[in-house]
């Protein structure tokens, strides 16, 4: 007898441990892009700079300052060198986050899927938190994970030369920095995603936000208009990060001002998300 003729079946829920809704959303969102082979290639490509830096660290630790002459500060194994490394990853951060994050809310809005999500035991914080974790995971994959690997590598090849700074403090600084930056970046990107229903438009806005502001900042720097560098979106993160890593500011903007700018961006993103993400369908 086909099952549809058997009548309605009522099951008592099992006693297993249930995952929180934000975890379910994050896990699903992280796994989906990994099915695409070209995205895996992009992730691997994002590790090439780390491999190059690893080689330079090896040379530096084994052959003194010759590597510094070859690679400048980027080869440095002091904290500032790792901040410079993460700043150098911004192209991959920009591309990967655009691919992974642009459609996260836009597609739910396009599919009218918000009413389905919010008819579950799920609040706005869980929904946004789950989506943020997806973006943060991919951000970590191209920034924090290589830093961890490089610190470990340096410690393994020359424990006496690197010490506790490289084994504990630098990973700690990187963790704090990446968590703050990842959370802020993900909220800003999600806010963009919540404003549209098509990923492509979100990507365009994201490109303007990242590349456009960087170009304006660079032009302003060339013209000696230092205060205009405050518009450089990704640059502010690096500039603010110098507080954590004890490095020289990258922009001619006070790092604390950069922190305030980023707080403003993040708060603005949260306000947009609160306004845009409602389980209500459009009623004209």
């Amino acid at each position: 007898m086909p099952i549809y003729e058997r009548g309605y079946t009522n099951w008592e829920p099992s006693a297993g441990r249930a995952r929180p809704a934000w975890w379910v959303i994050a896990k699903r969102g992280i796994a989906e892009p990994l099915k695409k082979r070209w995205l895996l290639v992009l992730l691997l490509a994002a590790w090439v700079p780390a491999i190059v830096k690893a080689a330079m660290i090896y040379v530096k630790l084994k052959a003194g300052d010759i590597a510094d002459l070859l690679g400048g500060g980027w080869t440095s194994i002091d904290p500032a060198g790792f901040l410079a490394f993460m700043d150098g990853q911004r192209f991959f951060v920009f591309v990967l986050l655009a691919i992974v994050g642009a459609g996260l809310i836009a597609s739910d809005r396009r599919d009218n899927g918000l009413s389905l999500y919010f008819s579950r035991p799920l609040g706005l914080a869980s929904y946004v938190g789950g989506k943020s974790l997806i973006i943060m995971f991919y951000y970590f994959m191209v920034t924090l994970a290589p830093v961890y690997a490089l610190c470990l590598f340096a410690y393994v090849i020359a424990p006496e030369a690197t010490g506790l700074e490289l084994l504990f403090l630098t990973p700690l600084r990187a963790t704090l920095y990446c968590t703050l930056v990842g959370a802020s970046l993900s909220l800003v990107l999600l806010a963009f995603s919540s404003l549209g229903k098509r990923s492509i438009f979100v990507m365009v806005w994201w490109a303007i936000m990242v590349m456009g502001t960087e170009t304006i900042g660079a032009i302003a720097e060339g013209l000696g208009q230092d205060s205009v560098q405050a518009v450089n979106f990704l640059g502010q993160y690096h500039n603010a990060g110098t507080v954590i890593f004890g490095a020289e500011p990258r922009l001619a903007v006070n790092p604390l001002v950069s922190c305030l700018i980023l707080v403003a961006w993040t708060v603005g993103a949260i306000l947009i998300l609160r306004k845009q993400i409602r389980p209500v369908e459009v009623v004209s």
Partner: protein, 315 residues
Amino acid sequence: MIGAGVSDDVARISAIKVGKWFGEVIAVNNCSLNVGTGVVGLLGANGAGKSTLFKMLAGLIEPSHGTVKVFGRNLRDEVGWYRRMGFCPESDALPGWMTGREFLALMLRLMGFEKAEVNRRVEYWLDRFELSEAGNRRMGGYSKGMRQKIKLAQALAHDPEVIFLDEPLNGMDPVSRKQSIELVQELGAKGHTVLVSSHILPEVESMTSQIILIDRGRVLAEGSITDIRDMMPEHPTTVALVSDDVRRLAGFLIAQDHVLGVEIESESRVVVRTEHALSFYRALPSWVIENDLTVDEILTLDDSLEAVFQYLTER
């Protein structure tokens, strides 16, 4: 007590003077209602405010004024109670890039079920709606009917006590439609609260006799179709009686209290207009026996849902 119009203490869904404005448009205006167990149809023409009222009841739209409670609670304040509620939206709310199986699994995981039980329920509901084979295909390639079934499955798969179904049969083929109607009736009989919205009257009539009728954002009537019909004295019920002696039958009936008028339609059929259908039906057998009348058939001409709907909305 079953269905719409129940008292506050047994109501699973209750709304008190709820209203919703979208800009200057009033979608729902001052609606109050109580719904207990069983199947209740929320009826109204397109644009009557059904979907807005539906979403307010399901805690998916915040009312501009008034309060809505499900299980005596505000769902948005206590989202854990959504585990006891199922919602099937009218809109095509499915991500086309996901397979049916993945989508159902995600919806169940969000309800808090563990993996083994998720798999068990997904397979049951795909099978129940004859989507087992299509379950591995992306939903973007599904027909309207298949998408409707998946939406229905996600609303029911966690076995909720209160179920909101917004136009659930849209696009379904006749066989699926019949199966879904039977499923809804079965859920109602087992003590679930099923609120079904539709603008297709026979569809609702086939599922339940308990209705909430909404028009231009207002609740016009709430209760069983017969009760509502009886409360419309300005529209007397019309009953046709088939008899082999219509003249004697008509002569008797015209003298009775509840009868407002009698018309001999043909040699074998008389049409009676009565202001109290229930009293008329109760008295008719004794009239027939005591006065040696003959009535071969009784046909109620206008206590259908369609007639009630037309009278109330004056369409």
